[in-house]
């Protein structure tokens, strides 16, 4: 990673940890829910989110929801994390293949993109089932890189109540994971939704995360032009444009669905209320 960007990524992780833990506590308190549920995949984002939630409250519950395309190593790492966090009596292990196959057969598809998204949405349904049963919230695991790229399934892993690490780039989530003392295997593991066999984020996007995060940071946090970003990083401008296009075309995933105005006060347009008030 470019030295300048790397330096910008290195924030005070003790401060960040205290901040997110405190905010999780407050969010649970304000929402009058007892705790939180996290889907633990064996990857860095869910490991960090789970570890932060476990610091915020004792009322947490983790779900491991592998499918036939989940690498065994991910399951082992997820179980290792459960053990490390002392959560042996606070998790469930659910193989989702049967549910996914049922839905896929109803949809009459064997397209691995469609089935991949069904998997993500099945996990969402299970998380909300557990959350409602326990009186908990669904704590999302998306990071800023994925959210900006739109590299998540709408109403799948994107279907959550709150995104505690959503303002940290993938690079920073790895740094935070290391600060939290998570296993190095998880911290350094290549990012993958594992929605189909052999899928990796970098393989699918075609750009490595060091470059992705550098482009996203310089383009959007520092508001540099695509040309400046390409020159600064010494990369082809087509790579910058590719990343920028991913952000642009996924904006619909980050916003609430558009409402066609008719009245004098349309929700989210000129009816803008906070999430909660007295």
């Amino acid at each position: 990673m470019h030295e300048y960007v790397l330096k910008k990524m290195m924030v005070d992780f003790e401060l960040v940890t205290n901040y997110i833990v405190e905010r999780l506590r407050e969010y649970l308190e304000f929402s009058a829910k007892k705790g939180g549920v996290v889907g633990v995949s064996g990857g860095i984002d869910s490991a960090v989110t789970a570890a932060l939630l476990a610091r915020a409250t004792n009322n947490y519950f983790f779900l491991i929801m592998p499918s036939s395309t989940t690498p065994k190593k991910d399951i082992d790492d997820a179980l290792g994390l459960i053990k490390m966090l002392g959560a042996e009596d606070k998790y469930a292990y659910i193989d989702i293949d049967e549910i996914v196959n049922n839905i896929a057969s109803q949809v009459k598809t064997n397209d691995h993109y469609v089935i991949g998204n069904i998997k993500a949405r099945v996990r969402m349904v299970l998380l909300y089932g557990y959350a409602q049963k326990l009186g908990y919230l669904v704590i999302g695991t998306g990071d800023k890189s994925e959210l900006l790229l739109g590299y998540f399934t709408k109403y799948g892993d994107g279907g959550v109540d709150v995104l505690p690490i959503g303002d940290l780039y993938k690079t920073q989530v790895r740094m935070l994971g290391r600060y939290l003392g998570l296993p190095e295997d998880i911290v350094t593991k290549p990012s993958s939704p594992a929605l189909w066999e052999g899928q990796t984020a970098e393989g699918e996007i075609g750009v490595d995360y060091d470059t992705i995060d550098s482009i996203l940071y310089l383009r959007f946090d520092e508001m540099r032009t695509p040309e400046e970003v390409a020159n600064f990083l010494g990369i082809n401008i087509d790579i910058v444009r590719k990343i920028e296009n991913m952000v642009r075309f996924s904006q619909h995933k980050r916003l609430a669905p558009e409402i066609f105005r008719l009245s004098g006060r349309a929700i989210n347009s000129d009816w803008r209320y906070p999430r909660q008030w007295g």
Partner: protein, 269 residues
């Protein structure tokens, strides 16, 4: 001579006037200070969005309840100054008498959207100097502390102490809390330039996406931070603001040389 002040760094609940009122009353009734300073919009919460159109009715009643118990209190509310016109307001309640200070600079950039809801104060009418126990003080709200003129004008009008109720959210996290450094620089600079006590009371806790970082602080007239509240949690700090410190700071500063000709230039730009 001097006054003991308390900075009440509270976590207001957004739009919950009754909860916030009770919090104000609880602090005022247990404070030994001559004056208690609460954060900006302390009665209503800050990230109100369209709730601003509603909270002013209930908060108007709450003002009177605070005035009944407070010796001296500075707290924040939304005030309807004429039908349909709202202002971001600091209430100054001294011995049951209530007056109002309005925010002049309304941040409307980045995460802020105050101009959508509020009318700015008018410096020609709304600059006010108050007095308690012989100490003359002025109040400016949050963003007004990022500009030289509001505090400069109050200092020239006779204020020897400035209270800054604020709702400053955390942002641009770097190795350090940059916004804390920024505010510390501002608070110190105002003290140094005018030989005044400057007391900054921030809100704390989350409201919507934002998080108010606390860290309330007091600078003496020599530009030293003499009292600090905790970061990220509710806190109450008290400090005695001594007139003698003002006197000595001004003996050794050029505050007395204030040259109004600069303002003539400024008024013609």
């Amino acid at each position: 001579m001097g006054i003991k002040v308390e900075l009440a760094q509270i976590k207001p609940k957004l739009g919950d006037i009754n909860y916030n009122l009770e919090k104000h009353i609880a602090i005022l009734s247990t404070s030994s200070a001559d004056c208690v300073i609460f954060p900006e919009l302390s009665l209503t919460g800050y990230v109100l969005r369209d709730l601003a159109f509603e909270v002013f009715r209930e908060s108007e009643k709450a003002i009177n309840k605070i005035a009944e118990v407070a010796k001296c209190a500075v707290f924040g509310t939304v005030k309807e100054v004429r039908t349909g016109i709202l202002r971001n307001t600091a209430v100054v309640s001294i011995n049951g008498k209530v007056d109002y200070v309005y925010k002049f600079y309304l941040p409307t950039y980045g995460l802020f959207e105050e101009r959508r809801y509020f009318q700015p104060g008018d410096p020609l009418k709304d600059l006010k100097v108050f007095e308690i126990n012989g100490m003359r003080f002025g109040v400016v709200i949050c963003e007004d502390g990022w500009h030289p003129e509001p505090i400069e004008a109050l200092a020239m009008m006779g204020a020897d102490t400035i209270f800054i109720p604020a709702a400053s959210p955390l942002r641009r996290l770097d190795r350090r809390l940059l916004i804390q450094d920024n505010w510390e620089a501002l608070v110190k600079a105002h003290s140094l330039m005018y030989g005044i006590w400057t007391a900054f009371t921030n809100a704390v806790g989350s409201q919507e996406e934002e998080f108010f970082w606390g860290g309330s602080m007091i600078s003496n007239p020599r530009g030293e931070i003499v009292a600090r509240a905790k970061l990220f949690e509710e806190d109450r700090i008290s400090y005695y603001l001594n007139e003698e410190d003002i006197r000595i700071a001004r003996f050794f500063s050029s505050f007395r040389d204030h040259n109004n000709d600069f303002h003539k230039i400024l008024s013609n730009i």
